[in-house]
């Protein structure tokens, strides 16, 4: 325990805290809007919501329900609240009614695109670094959870105060851990500073929401979409998604998806279903080779995407895994009447070489070699095949072609920076540069960590990691795990797990390990090293990997996509 001296003192307080809570929960639910919220608050017209929530959340004469009417958030945010009400406040609600409540609240007390996109990483379950503008508030809130939870909320001043009170009631330790500092100071306490900041930064009433809620409607997105994506470690995927409206619903859709991993040629077909909340928040789930869970694909891929305002594109992440750590970044472009090029493979070609180039997109069946313009130094020899979504071109890169990126034109279709011409591989890099895995497999799931190695050309300045560097894409490397010495006799490498040929690290099992000193778990710190067989000798790059303990709580909502 990290704060041992505090523990016994706090434990003495816990009985008292439990008593406090018994008063706090109903009191919070029934809290009346304060003076500053007198003109705010969103009336709730839906009878199902008023039925489901109204026994605790009182309605006022303007149809506003206490607490609920003074907050806006994502479908995940509303679902998390309902789950808490079921778990801790013994709300009896069927899954069907809960879905309708989530849908009504996400649509009517939701976020505008400008508000939701900065917090997209929360719904997309990304684990890369997400800095926040205020370091003090960041510190206060992320002691326990993601800043994304907060960035996807809008509340009145009173509501921000009440939600911190909820934390203090349910988790009395938050005062010690984050909300209050010890010792004398004239500065406001961290929790008070945070409430002031959040009230100003994330208010209930915003011009973005006023504008969006006035124009919001279910998007008409049925049709054919070109899919491009990137699966870490596996590389580019290209394909097509056919979206059909579900009969009788204007915000629910079914999908047929097929795509190919460009590097390996592996083909995937998926069937899925999705709901679009608030006119732009796609939440879906798809299964490989079937419309439902199968033994081969029990969990499917959850789909979180955001539809552009012009209904011509959407982007997001599809993912699975015990910690949502396995997935791919995706972008969909609507296939209309005109030719469309969405991606090229390979995306880097070497001077003096010939290459077979795949152009993925839509409406490409009638393309001819004369339509394809790859820019100076690149000659199109012929098109060896042309289908609606794939053209294969044989090209030659001149020996004196300038190193750099090329825009691509195919008839009226264009793709900026589609192709990179290079002469040598200057270096490789392993990403992410800091990874995390969690032991598991016995009582809790493993958290895997996928690494990938990318090749780079240092660009005209010849210096690494400058703005003119050229990313040459994924390369095959030999993966090894090396010791990252943090203490004497560091033996982590022997126990933490193993990395496969595609750069996926699989951690070892959870539980104490009797072979290790002090029965340590199979946790540790290691370097993950990629070695590339370059033309002038091997190139190495490494990343830090933390293999650590599990979480025994799983927080993320998994049903907003309505499987």
């Amino acid at each position: 325990m990290r704060l041992l001296p505090l523990m016994s003192a706090v434990r003495r307080l816990l009985t008292g805290a439990a008593l406090t809570l018994a008063v706090t929960a109903p009191a919070l639910a029934g809290a009346q809007p304060a003076a500053d919220a007198a003109d705010s608050g969103i009336p709730i017209a839906d009878e199902a919501v008023r039925q489901a929530c109204g026994s605790c959340h009182r309605a006022d004469d303007q149809g506003r329900l206490s607490r609920i009417s003074f907050r806006r958030t994502t479908p995940e945010g509303w679902q998390q609240t309902i789950r808490r009400m079921v778990m801790l406040n013994e709300v009896a609600i069927t899954p069907e009614v809960a879905r309708e409540v989530v849908r009504y609240l996400a649509n009517n007390l939701g976020l505008a695109p400008e508000e939701a996109i900065p917090a997209a990483f929360e719904a997309e379950r990304r684990t890369d670094d997400q800095p926040y503008e205020d370091a003090d508030v960041h510190q206060t809130c992320t002691t326990c959870h993601s800043m994304g939870r907060i960035m996807s909320q809008r509340r009145t001043a009173e509501e921000w105060r009440l939600v911190t009170a909820m934390h203090q009631g349910y988790y009395p330790f938050t005062d010690f851990q984050a909300f209050r500092r010890s010792g004398e100071s004239d500065e406001p306490q961290p929790v008070d500073y945070a409430v002031t900041h959040l009230t100003e930064r994330f208010p209930l009433d915003s011009p973005e929401w006023s504008a969006w809620s006035a124009t919001m409607r279910p998007p008409r997105i049925a049709g054919t979409w070109a899919l491009t994506g990137h699966a870490p470690g596996l590389g580019a995927v290209h394909g097509q998604v056919t979206i059909a409206a579900l009969p009788g619903a204007d915000d629910e859709f079914t999908t047929q998806t097929r795509y190919v991993y460009a590097r390996t040629g592996r083909q995937v077909e998926r069937t899925g279903r999705a709901v679009v909340y608030t006119g732009f928040q796609w939440r879906g789930r798809s299964f490989e080779g079937a419309a439902e869970a199968t033994a081969a694909d029990p969990d499917g891929l959850r789909e979180v995407m955001f539809v552009d305002r012009d209904w011509q594109a959407m982007r997001g992440r599809w993912f699975t895994g015990g910690y949502d750590e396995i997935g791919l970044d995706v972008a969909l472009s609507r296939v209309g009447a005109a030719p469309l090029v969405t991606g090229v493979y390979p995306a880097a070609v070497q001077v003096g070489q010939t290459a077979s180039l795949q152009l993925h997109g839509g409406n490409l069946a009638t393309a001819v070699a004369g339509d394809l313009d790859l820019g100076p130094g690149l000659e199109v020899l012929r098109l060896s095949s042309a289908s609606p979504d794939l053209v294969t071109a044989e090209i030659r890169v001149g020996a004196d072609a300038a190193v750099g990126r090329r825009d691509l034109y195919l008839g009226q279709a264009a793709l900026a920076d589609a192709l990179t011409v290079y002469d040598t591989v200057s270096r490789i890099a392993v990403t992410p540069d800091a990874g995390m895995a969690r032991v598991g497999g016995v009582r809790v799931p493993k958290q895997f960590q996928q690494f990938e190695a990318r090749a780079f050309h240092d660009g005209p300045d010849g210096e690494a990691e400058t703005a003119d560097d050229l990313d040459l894409g994924l390369v095959d490397v030999t993966w090894t795990v090396e010791e990252y010495a943090t203490t004497f006799g560091d033996d982590d490498r022997r126990y933490v797990g193993a990395i496969d040929g595609q750069g996926r690290f699989t951690p070892a099992e959870d539980g104490p390990n009797v072979e290790r000193s002090g029965n340590r778990n199979n946790v540790g710190d290691v370097w993950v090293v990629g070695t590339y067989a370059g033309s002038e000798g091997p190139l190495r790059a490494r990343a830090h990997l933390l293999v650590t303990v599990p979480n025994y709580l799983r927080w993320d909502p998994t049903a907003v996509e309505r499987p």
Binding site: M1, R2, M7, R11, L14, A17, A18, L21, R83, M87, F121, E124, R125, R126, T127, D128, D129, Q130, T142, T143, C144, H145, S146, G148, Y170, Y171, P172, F173, Q177, Y323, A434, G435, M436, V442, R443, V444, P445, Y484, A485, T486, T487, F488, D490, D492, G511, P512, N513, N519, N521, V523, D525, L546, V547, T548, V549, N551, Y552, L553, R554, W555
Partner: protein
């Protein structure tokens, strides 16, 4: 330990003392705080984003590694549970999982009976 270069350990305990005092091969990150050039220019850090890995202490120690963690985690788990200490990582006895430990008298022995909780 230069003054000990004429001394030769004659039993295993003495050999371990000598080994422990010997400078380690390569860099030892945890020993570099505050002196000499760091092994990594920016230091190891914990990826953040939407994961729950925020408070160095559960996933990582204050140096960003695992050497200083309470280990094995099962030894400490019930203390966290009773005290609501890591509310985003461990089910708390106060509200979310009052019976979490009922099947498991001592986590270090009975850890296979610990349940994952979906709050």
């Amino acid at each position: 330990m230069n003054h000990m270069k004429h001394l030769i350990p004659i039993n295993r305990k003495a050999a371990r003392i000598v080994a422990a005092a010997a400078p380690p091969a390569g860099d030892v990150v945890a020993l570099q705080q505050g002196s000499g050039p760091p092994q990594q220019p920016e230091g190891p850090h914990i990826p953040l984003g939407c994961s729950l890995a925020f408070q160095p202490g559960w996933e990582a120690d204050r140096n960003g590694g695992t050497a200083g963690l309470c280990q094995p985690v099962e030894r400490d788990l019930f203390d966290c549970h009773l005290g609501c200490y890591w509310p985003a990582h461990v089910p708390d006895q106060l509200n979310h999982a009052p019976d979490w430990t009922s099947k498991c008298a001592a986590a270090q022995k009975d850890w296979r009976k610990i349940d994952l909780i979906f709050p």
